[in-house]
């Protein structure tokens, strides 16, 4: 009853369009307010605007008054009696740091899954198409990872926010709850960027290597005038290795993720890293040292072109492989020594 009266008593003298602007302004404010106060605020605003306008307001008067009241968003915020947040400043810093960690991990996992899905479902088509497919899968994995991580972290913090609001934890904190200052050991630190780059490059190279192993062994060959003289690798050998290389790639990604997660060398990480490094190196060395890996025709062909005996070629090749094997072993040994040096140094300091 009262409301009706108010509406009737509210007179406009400006043009229709300007009158419309007042209504639109009030709506822009009240729509941002809780439903139960909307009607009252609307009446108040109408009365106040009416008071601020002269007897016969022109369009300019109306514009001036609305501009004086300020942006509807700001006015609505001023009307808000309690602060409304999804993530309040109280939790914001924790939210952001959690989001960073979770996003890194989830994106990496999704990218990995996307990558292996693409590899497993590869269709017989050109290498270019296959690479595009793998990349598309990786990018969509990354995008899914970002969205998923963001949604979950935000939802969980939103729940924590509500729980904290009722438990009044601001008043009841304890000195014992303060986290320990982390002992940052710069020598034992693992650079996040380095690990990320390692992860991305490692994933891409394993992908290409496995794709070639699966589909392109028949084109890696010795050609003479565009005609295949002989295929180089023994497909029956390489096929048996594919599954091991895939497993190795999965473990490699997992280890990279752990490196990113821990951010420094710890004893369990170092053990895991060592185990993986040795296993993958051994796998690789077995692969290249496999006596039937290279087809005998390859040696014959080379011998034919170089005009020497096949036995000599085989001997030379075996010598090369042996030197390479020693070289790889030394590099891995140095890498592992450095890792353990850092790890033990950091344990000692603690």
């Amino acid at each position: 009853m009262e409301k009706n009266h108010i509406r009737n008593g509210f007179n406009y003298y400006g043009g229709n369009e300007m009158k419309n602007y007042i209504e639109r302004y009030i709506y822009a404010v009240t729509k941002r307010l809780p439903e139960k106060v909307r009607a009252e605020v609307k009446n108040e605003l109408q009365a106040n605007i009416n008071d601020m306008l002269p007897e016969k307001p022109t369009d300019e008067d109306i514009e001036k008054v609305l501009k004086t009241l300020g942006h509807p968003r700001v006015l609505a915020k001023n009307y808000e009696t309690k602060e409304r947040y999804v993530i309040s400043p109280w939790f914001y810093a924790d939210y952001i740091s959690t989001l960073k960690i979770v996003m890194t991990i989830v994106v990496a996992v999704f990218v990995t899954i996307g990558f292996f899905e693409a590899i497993i479902n590869l269709e017989q088509q050109g290498l270019f198409h296959q690479i595009v497919d793998v990349w598309a899968s990786i990018i969509s994995g990354a995008f899914n990872g970002v969205v998923t991580a963001f949604a979950w972290v935000t939802a969980i913090f939103w729940i924590i926010e509500h729980a904290a609001k009722t438990s009044n934890c601001e008043a009841t904190w304890d000195l014992k709850d303060l986290p320990e200052v982390p002992k940052v050991n710069h020598k034992a630190k693992i650079s996040k960027t380095e690990s990320m780059i390692g992860l991305i490059l490692g994933t891409i190279f394993s992908a290409i290597f496995i794709i070639i192993l699966m589909n392109y062994m028949n084109v890696i060959a010795i050609y003479d005038d565009g005609v295949i003289v002989t295929q180089i690798f023994n497909t029956s050998v390489t096929d048996t290795f594919i599954i091991f290389f895939i497993i190795s790639a999965v473990i490699s990604i997992a280890v990279s993720l752990l490196k990113i997660y821990y951010g420094e060398w710890k004893i369990n990480l170092a053990i895991l890293y060592t185990a993986f490094e040795i296993l993958s190196t051994v796998l690789f060395l077995i692969f290249i040292n496999h006596p039937q890996l290279i087809l005998p025709e390859v040696f014959d062909t080379i011998a034919f072109y170089m005009e020497i005996g096949s036995a000599e070629v085989v001997a030379g090749f075996e010598k090369g492989i042996r030197i390479f094997t020693i070289f790889v072993s030394v590099v891995v040994f140095i890498d592992l020594s450095a890792t353990w040096f850092k790890t033990l140094k950091s344990i000692e300091q603690k």
């Binding site: 007179n11 009446n43 008071d51 004086t68 001023n78």
Partner: protein, 112 residues
């Protein structure tokens, strides 16, 4: 000197006094716009977009009472101090006097 920063600091300083200024003028009935004008006449500048929501907030805190007057051609919502509001206002005034004394003391010591 950064005038923007100074303006911000000044408006922050004034913000705390706004409630006091509003309460001081509401021993007698006033509607939003008349209060705005009264304050302006006395040199207290407060934005319309700040004052109107502030009145509502003070009312929800129980410091003000309101009533619609719909007998005139323009309907108006009148605000006045409640009993709680009067008491609160008097307490705040005491605090305010204390702040003035304390601040004066500190500033004078410094400038000596």
């Amino acid at each position: 000197m950064d005038t923007n920063l100074i303006n911000n600091l000044i408006s922050e300083l004034k913000r705390g006094t706004q409630v006091l200024a509003v309460l001081s003028q509401l021993r007698k009935n006033q509607y939003g716009y008349s209060l705005l004008q009264t304050l302006e006449e006395k040199g207290v500048s407060i934005e319309a977009g700040t004052l109107y929501p502030l009145l509502r907030r003070l009312e929800s805190q129980g410091l003000l009472q309101s009533e619609w007057d719909t007998t005139e051609s323009k309907p108006r919502k009148y605000y006045v101090l409640s009993k709680d509001g009067i008491e609160t206002y008097e307490t705040l005034i005491q605090e305010w006097r204390k702040i003035i004394l304390e601040m004066d003391l500190i500033i004078m010591e410094e400038t000596k």
